[in-house]
């Protein structure tokens, strides 16, 4: 098994006719993901290298059997595209787009909750289940199938850690980028729940960063609900307060949201926190050997 995406994923890509959307959508297809449809309003009836394009996500569901939607739509139209996906009947929506206004996401988050649709992102690299399916922009060559589930707010930092895990001779059940925005569809806790229930996942690596309190909440959840070992890494110890560090959500507000507070919260609940990406991967590999 794996989580969120896998052999049963039937993918519809909103924005498949655009430059980024076609590049990544076709890469996902080349990896083995079952790409069943593209969606671009006004371009229904066309195709992108053999993949049919529909005007609406609803048509991609009824005509092509899509169950997963990936959003590659420019920021100012992306929330509306996610809303459309939520109402279309797909089970999962993965939003890659960066720069969506956060109050739009606030409304969209609750729509997804109400509809019971799993939303990943926005501002995320997507989800990869090595050997099965890749939905998003994660470069799959750095990840082999294996027993470690990864959940992360960051893209390249995750590739760095994944590559070190691969070099250590291990691999991943899934890699989930939850995104670096202040409001994301799924938090660490949502993904930890899935890994806890996934029989293929034996250990979880969680990659956090400054801003918000998702890591602190995850620490509480791990102590109460997660039986599998968790190794964490937190980025941003040197970040000054009040400055946005690249990601919209990566900001220390007053005295809250610091890397140290997150590390302390996790360690207080018995979660080991690596000092660097390299050490984090080494701890994970070592813990896996002793399981």
């Amino acid at each position: 098994m794996s989580i969120i995406v896998g052999e049963n994923t039937k993918l519809a890509v909103s924005g498949l006719t655009g430059r980024e959307g076609s590049f990544h959508g076709l890469r996902n297809k080349a990896y083995g993901t079952d790409l069943v449809a593209g969606v671009t309003p006004g371009k229904g009836g066309q195709d992108v290298e053999g993949t049919p394009v529909f005007d609406t996500i609803k048509e991609a569901v009824t005509e092509a059997g899509a169950n997963t939607s990936m959003i590659f739509v420019p920021a100012r139209f992306a929330a509306a595209a996610i809303d459309e996906a939520i109402e279309s009947g797909v089970e999962t929506v993965i939003a890659i787009t960066e720069g969506i206004p956060v109050l739009d996401m606030l409304k969209t988050y609750w729509k997804a909750q109400e509809a019971g649709v799993r939303l990943i992102g926005p501002n995320c690299p997507g989800v990869l289940s090595p050997g099965k399916a890749n939905v998003g922009i994660i470069p799959a060559q750095f990840f082999d199938p294996g027993p470690i589930g990864v959940v992360s707010k960051s893209g390249t930092l995750t590739y760095q850690i994944g590559n070190e895990l691969k070099q250590a001779g291990t691999g991943n059940s899934s890699i989930v980028g939850i995104g670096g925005d202040p409001i994301v569809g799924s938090d660490f806790i949502d993904i930890l729940k899935l890994y806890e229930a996934d029989p293929e996942t034996e250990l979880i690596v969680m990659v956090g960063e400054i801003g918000g309190d998702a890591e602190e909440r995850a620490a509480e959840f791990i102590a109460a609900e997660v039986s599998k070992p968790v190794v964490a890494y937190i980025a941003g110890f040197t970040a000054p307060p009040g400055k946005q560090m690249g990601h919209a959500g990566a900001i220390i507000s007053g005295s809250s949201g610091t890397a140290q507070a997150k590390k302390d919260a996790l360690e207080a609940k018995g979660v080991r926190v690596g000092e660097s990406p390299t050490e984090t991967a080494a701890i994970a590999a070592e813990m896996l050997r002793s399981l």
């Binding site: 309190d213 040197t238 009040g242």
Partner: protein, 387 residues
């Protein structure tokens, strides 16, 4: 993006929240002229993006023209350090407003609660002081209530929060009205934080926002033309230069210049450099593309900071190919006539090819390392302790 006090108050006024009228001034002469028009007593307030201005001497009351001149002279140009060590922030502008006859000082805010995914309304009868301290000492004094995302935030809901916070009975309706309008500011202006401290009741029993702290979502500026113009001004000249070049850059205090691709990897690179005993000079995320032009721009911004003694490029190629990055580095180091040592770590897609290209170019002053930790140690060694 944070607004200055007066910019926040202009936003409040636009939405019908009572604020004292006033004028902004850049010079002592302008400030004195404004004070003369407004009359005495008047408040002269430093306009900087940080709390704790009063304690730092950035807010003064003037009783006459001599005091107005003396206070404006003292405040303009002063440096203010925030309560958590932020800054220092140089005062370039003051806001002059009529003195208020304060009977009560309350606190009101609307913030985005990231964890709960709702707007959170907070009210306290203990305004005019550090609200974090109030909440720590007397948690019951700060009433917090989430705004139901599926329902309108109406006067009845706002009034119940104000009543629970123990606001004066005869001020409840007006305070509730102000709170409803603050929530409207959040939704309509894309504000993720609005804080009014103090929200006062005057001797005449009017409710007035005497201060403002407003953060606007930078991702929503495309639909707020007026606020987008405010956002175009950045205090730090290096950050301004980066902004013009479309780079995500944050100036720090050290002497090790840093470029990485991806926000998370970049933050991690700063941390690893600090662990190796170095002091990062900046955060700079080159982004996903990282073509030659972006690298030239990045090097120009990093080296515009004269404190930089050595530079680290930490690249993990995903979609980005390291051979393209290597070519970009060669072009950039030639175009910018780089004077300080550069440590490059290339990993990921086509990293072997990228490293070969760099070795072949044999640039003076360039050092290649294969791991992030080795690269951090090397750049710290080359940068020295700074001078």
């Amino acid at each position: 993006m944070d607004l200055l006090e007066y910019q926040g108050k202009q936003l409040f006024a636009k939405h019908g929240i009572p604020v004292p009228s006033g004028e902004v001034a850049d010079t002592v002469e302008e400030a004195v002229a404004a004070a003369e028009r407004i009359g005495y007593p008047c408040a002269i307030k430093a306009q900087v993006l940080i709390g704790g201005r009063g304690k730092a001497g950035g807010i003064k009351i003037a009783k006459d023209v001599e005091e107005a001149r003396a206070h404006a002279d003292a405040i303009l140009g002063m440096d203010i350090v925030g309560p958590h060590g932020e800054g220092p922030f140089r005062v370039d502008q003051v806001w002059i407003e009529g003195g208020s006859d304060i009977a009560e000082e309350y606190y009101a805010s609307i913030i985005l609660d990231r964890g709960e995914k709702k707007l959170l309304a907070m009210v306290s009868a203990k305004g005019g002081m550090d609200i974090e301290a109030v909440a720590a000492e007397d948690p019951d004094a700060l009433v917090k209530r989430h705004v139901d995302p599926t329902q309108a935030f109406d006067a009845a809901a706002a009034r119940s929060i104000a009543a629970d916070a123990g606001l004066a009975e005869d001020a409840l309706d007006e305070a509730a009205e102000a709170l409803v309008r603050l929530e409207e500011v959040a939704r309509e202006e894309d504000a993720t934080l609005i804080e009014v401290n103090p929200l006062i009741v005057t001797a005449g029993r009017d409710v007035v926002a005497l201060d403002s702290k407003v953060t606007i979502d930078g991702n929503a500026l495309f639909r707020h033309q007026d606020l987008a113009e405010v956002a175009d001004t950045v205090d730090d000249p290096h950050e301004q230069m980066a902004k013009e070049k479309g780079l995500t850059y944050v100036k720090l205090d050290g002497n090790v210049g840093i470029l990485a691709n991806g926000a998370g990897l970049c933050m991690s690179t700063l941390d690893v450099v600090a662990q190796a005993g170095g002091a990062p000079a900046n955060f700079l995320d080159a982004g996903g593309g990282s073509k030659a032009e972006a690298i030239v721009n990045a090097l120009e911004v990093i080296t515009s900071d004269e404190k930089v003694d050595a530079i680290l490029f930490n690249i993990f190629g995903g979609i980005t190919r390291c051979d393209e990055i290597a070519k970009g580095i060669i072009t950039a180091s030639e175009q910018t006539q780089l004077q300080v040592p550069l440590v490059v770590r290339l990993d990921g897609t086509n990293s072997e090819e990228g490293r070969a290209i760099l070795r072949e170019a044999n640039l003076p002053n360039m050092h290649e390392e294969s791991t992030m930790l080795d690269a951090a140690r090397k750049v710290v060694e080359l940068a020295g302790s700074g001078s």
